[in-house]
Symmetry: C2
Subunit: 300 residues, 2 copies
């Protein structure tokens, strides 16, 4: 195991224009590790309550995800997020957040995780991200994600973490929020001055733009006609991206490009069903097929 993912394992209540799902399994760490599990054997660091379904734990285990860093709080309640999507799947509104066991979460990295090659700080309080960063022996690659909430409410802590990572996963709105710059290319170049070597700007249905100081890669989203639930698309993208890099063990421009394609494919599956349901049946062959299709859709 050489990819460690820190983030949330959660319940999500999701409202789309067509349907509502009450307290289904979600969380950045869940989506990300499931996606990564098709490429490598990730380990996770997260916290849940006793109310979390045993069946999901079993499923994560079946996907060979290392759960040594998954803490169960006796009598505790799992973190719960409630969100609403309008007609534009790129826009969502947070209706409610119950921190529950996250309230007092002081993450501890299991000793066996300390020598991870790749560390991913998925979306979570930047104070927690920083605490984790201090517990690992220099990973070969460190990446982070965040949300607008942290950029606004914990900017200093967020910027400290940003300085310490190689790859920053952000959506285009967050790039604008952080830099105040409308032009995404200019905005991302400002962020590159703050520390990371690469910024992966996720644009939902418009695909992804990966920029480094001397690097550009742009790719369409998979042309999905069927978008059921966009929740977790970004975390799934990151899981495919980093899982692929961990499998290959090299992080050069060529690998980064392919990683973005693998992430795109993984995200395209996640949104086809609510929560993590699509992973219950997803076969490696389907991933390979979709990658080939994506290649034929983008090569000229």
């Amino acid at each position: 195991m050489s990819l460690v993912i820190v983030g949330s394992v959660a319940f999500d209540t999701i409202e789309t224009p067509r349907e509502r799902k009450e307290k289904i399994v979600g969380g950045s760490c869940t989506y990300c590790s499931l996606a990564a599990s098709y490429f490598t054997r990730p380990g996770i660091v997260a916290v849940i309550g006793e109310d979390f379904p045993e069946a999901t734990i079993d499923f994560l285990r079946k996907r060979k995800i290392d759960l040594k860093g998954l803490k169960v709080v006796p009598g505790g309640k799992t973190f719960h997020w409630q969100g609403r999507y309008g007609d534009d799947p790129n826009q969502r509104e947070t209706v409610r957040t119950d921190l529950n066991v996250f309230q007092d979460f002081r993450p501890e990295i299991p000793p066996s995780y300390r020598k991870a090659d790749i560390l991913f700080l998925a979306n979570i309080d930047p104070d927690i991200q920083e605490a984790i960063l201090k517990q690992v022996d220099k990973p070969r690659l460190t990446a982070m994600d965040t949300i607008g909430l942290w950029i606004n409410s914990k900017r200093e802590a967020f910027l400290r973490v940003l300085r310490g990572v190689d790859i920053f996963f952000a959506n285009d709105e967050e790039v604008r929020m952080l830099t105040g710059e409308r032009n995404l290319v200019i905005g991302v170049h400002r962020i590159l001055e703050l520390g990371p070597k690469y910024v992966v700007a996720k644009k939902g249905e418009h695909g992804v733009l990966v920029l480094g100081r001397e690097f550009v890669f742009g790719m369409m989203a998979y042309a999905n006609a069927r978008v059921v639930d966009p929740t977790g698309a970004g975390d799934t993208f990151a899981g495919g991206f980093l899982g692929y890099l961990d499998k290959i063990g090299r992080f050069g421009p060529r690998e980064i490009r392919r990683a973005a394609a693998e992430g795109t494919v993984m995200a395209s599956f996640a949104i086809e069903d609510f929560g993590i349901d699509r992973f219950l049946t997803l076969k490696p062959r389907e991933i390979e097929e979709r990658l080939k299709i994506l290649k034929s859709w983008t090569a000229f």
Copy 2:
């Protein structure tokens, strides 16, 4: 000459957040024919007044654009459009439109244009597009563009033209307006049922999505840090796209993909300066270089 472009040659007054330009040369036909002139020798059908600058006419001639179909109305005033861009270059507002010589324009195709291989009906009143369509001998390829105004105000005429073309250039907003469908992939497939073989959905900074019944191609926009004036980007894209197809003389999936890349490159130049100014210095070598760069930015 085997590409004929029908559209507007105009004066544009343009306000961006940084600058205002009064009555500079613009128009769908102008942008499109200039872009196409790097690949082939397009002929244009348009109307201007006596106030139109002789220097621009000379420049179009120098670019080997066939002006036999350019009608000059004695004593007439050239069509004038005024628009305003906010911070989002994908959004613009029409402040004012002076039809002038367009008011009574009854376009006539010069006899030498009638056997055009490719006919492009750039954005213009669909009644005019329809009249033109009747004057040509079955071109090998017919394409059209439009704006929301015509979709709303002359829907029936627009739909008749749409039924008669092979390629429909639209922006993503127009796809939504026409179909009422938020998912671009679904929306475009509805439009494919209305006649065209391909829909080229232009998404500004997010690139382009070309869909056919059994065809998908998606491409990022060129990662321009310098966007001075987005006006004409779509017309320039179409000019590069169709100019390339005319040069190659084949319209298969492989050529369509490459055409979208050529269009992307041409549009990336047009937006780097106000109006058609960038074309005054643009060299074929610069186009070739940018195409290579775009390839390296998109291949995986």
